[in-house]
Subunit: 323 residues, 3 copies
């Protein structure tokens, strides 16, 4: 795994691809957060554009549908003045029987500069980064149940904006840890940034075996798990897993693991409530909590743009000498 | 209804949203037409762009399909140098069970500046304008059977270009008044701009009850209805209503309410023929009339762009201090 | 046919549309190749854009799906700084029963400057060019089994880059000549540019009758056909024709007409191997040949962009006085 993760960095230790939080270090994560700060200021201005990536071509390769993630990547690229081409690969070239590698080779030949990849298979972004031309950067927009590193970084950005530092924080990640690429990326990022404690809270059926090896504490119920917590990260519950071997029905789930206003009081005063969206109101989170004072769910969405601008400009900075 | 319509204007009476013609006044409509004039000149130039909305993000929220309207809004936004993101909402986020309000909240959080909304439900654009952040403008691109105000304004623009003034005009709107959001917007606009007479001509089954309350004269046959008319506005016939309780078959409809060359002669000499498109040749209008000298149908399409540029720049002018 | 082809040129013999290679002359093809050279240099630069078509609106009218061709046209237009609107016509306006001509008339009215047309019917681009407004240019991106002229020009560009001149070359086109619009355009282009010999190599069922009238030599087997050849152009085999009256199964086809490393040796030393893509590995071409030293398949993809930039800027140069 080391060899693959090192793919992300060049000989000088700069970001060349952005594939996973695993394999990065605290300095790099901090550099991303600091770079995102400057773009966050830009977003608040009347003209929200910078010419940083003018003349660059970014290809969104979405093998899996995603309105929100695709939208934020498109907006981030537009605000960096790049040209963006979004390709829904499921319905195009590969349907003519062309292999993934041939599709990549062909896009490469069109002098594109970056692939933003979302794929249902874990490792897909790594695979493309391993096989693409050296001047092209790959950004992972979610691969199977592996990682979703830009989501984790916007979560870190949100936490830092609200809590100022990481070292004194106790963070709880709640819900379907087993199937969540977001949770994996978050755990790696929180660990690298040095929070005091990371907890995962979930029913046993939604916890991967050996999760403790990542340095997290495991809780099976909210009552004890939420005690002393500063940051609550809810995960989205895939409804298609309901009424399966994994889970009882929605009402039962909310009763056991849903974040109600009552339960929120168990956590520390001023604990922040996060969710990657889209939320299932009344399933994993009560509406009054999602829309309440402690919720930063919409800030997370906002910060998705400067954080993705930061990642895209950093990988381009390395490979093409921008900036 | 007053309260809702006032949503469109700020305290200074400037356009903040563009939701319906109802609730506006003659001065504002005239300002839109005058602003559109300057953009119409731009369209004729070699470089058809102005940097007026550079750095602004416009989201096309089309819950209902529309090639032509979406295309003119996209072109209008591109010519104002805005960044445009078109979202087909029917097939995206809401299919994950996210509510309309959550979708809006999320897009808002991405620092977008304008929503152009088309929706099958009457009042959808108003609803979004009521619930969106104060710095965001909403433009109605057609809501159910309620209004389609940019279509009405491009019709007014076309009429003014050809006839120079409104006060001496007799206008007939012909066809499916009952289901037409275009007709409702046109009636309000023609009334505000002070034409001499508005007539609606339709079979009884395609006329809403109480339509006379809008100040129009009702005719049930073309022969008498077209007499002394200067402007003929044909409506598109939804073929799916054919052979239903509303309507006989197409041939029968054309025989009674279709605009033939013969019938056109009943109207005043030089009467202009309008249609919002797409036309059903031989159903509501004969090909020789649609393509004839008195037809301004393609001018209407052309003027759709400067009129939409005018509306978009005016609502942005208010909210973001552009210009 | 003369009258139709002359559509492409204005009274001064300049390109007004780009519909087919047939009907053009060597000077024009050479001008396209020379213009493409300047854009090829641009593509290698850090900022790959030129403001040449800023403010122009290009509409991609794709009545037939094509990831690769649409992508290269979109990228070419973006790098010329044009505004691009891609319309999938199959699923939009025409589904409301609007005729092709009405669709064209409406887009024209929106002050667009160019149509890039792909259509399953031979002659579709000509038809649109005949009926569109005089200031609009039409570029054929593939029409039925007729022509695919930009593909042929990028092939010529690739040949000239590698072989420097045309006059001493023997070129073989191999595969489904009968159904290939690419082959037709290539034969016309190679003839105009004056290669020494053009051969077509195919089973009898995949050769049109009278193909010799185009001045090509016909071979029914690779062993004799590849002798003395400098340029090998493989055609894509439409798998849907397999196991039909035209063709045996894939393995049998490769045995008879597939380009293996062994067979490549029959051709001249250094013979270049071309394919318009997407390739069917192991059907018309062996993977080791497609990925081998003599293959220029990915260069073809690369050169698609400068060649399309050249064609688009030349047709606009005529009609709108750019440059």
């Amino acid at each position: 795994m080391i060899a693959i993760d090192n793919l992300q960095l060049n000989a000088q230790g700069q970001l060349q691809h952005f594939l996973s939080i695993e394999g990065l270090n605290r300095e790099l994560l901090t550099e991303i957060l600091d770079t995102a700060e400057s773009f966050a200021d830009l977003s608040a201005q009347n003209i929200k554009k910078t010419p940083l990536l003018r003349g660059k071509t970014i290809v969104n390769l979405f093998f899996e549908n995603s309105t929100r993630t695709r939208a934020t990547f498109e907006l981030a690229a537009a605000r960096l003045s790049a040209d963006v081409m979004s390709m829904n690969i499921a319905t195009s070239a590969t349907s003519k029987g062309e292999s993934l590698l041939d599709t990549i080779r062909n896009l490469e030949a069109m002098q594109v500069d970056m692939f933003v990849v979302r794929h249902a298979l874990s490792g897909a972004a790594h695979f493309i980064a391993q096989h693409t031309a050296p001047h092209i950067s790959v950004v992972n927009a979610g691969d199977g149940q592996h990682e979703h590193p830009t989501q984790a970084m916007l979560d870190m950005f949100t936490i830092r904006r609200v809590k100022k530092q990481f070292s004194n924080l106790r963070v709880a990640i709640i819900g379907d840890i087993l199937h969540s690429r977001v949770a994996r990326s978050q755990i790696h990022a929180l660990t690298l940034l040095g929070v005091e404690e990371i907890r995962v809270i979930a029913p046993k059926t939604l916890l991967p075996t050996g999760i403790e090896d990542l340095g997290v504490n495991v809780f099976y119920d909210l009552q004890t798990g939420l005690k002393d917590i500063d940051v609550i990260i809810m995960l989205r519950l895939q409804k298609e897993r309901m009424n399966s071997a994994f889970l009882p029905n929605e009402r039962e789930y909310f009763k056991c693991f849903g974040l109600s206003a009552e339960r929120l009081k168990i956590a520390n005063k001023g604990a922040m409530v996060m969710h990657p969206g889209p939320i299932n109101r009344g399933v994993e989170i009560a509406s009054e909590v999602a829309d309440g004072e402690q919720s930063v769910i919409l800030q997370q969405v906002s910060y998705g743009i400067p954080v993705r601008m930061a990642v895209m400009s950093m990988v381009m900075n390395h490979t093409n000498g921008v900036g």
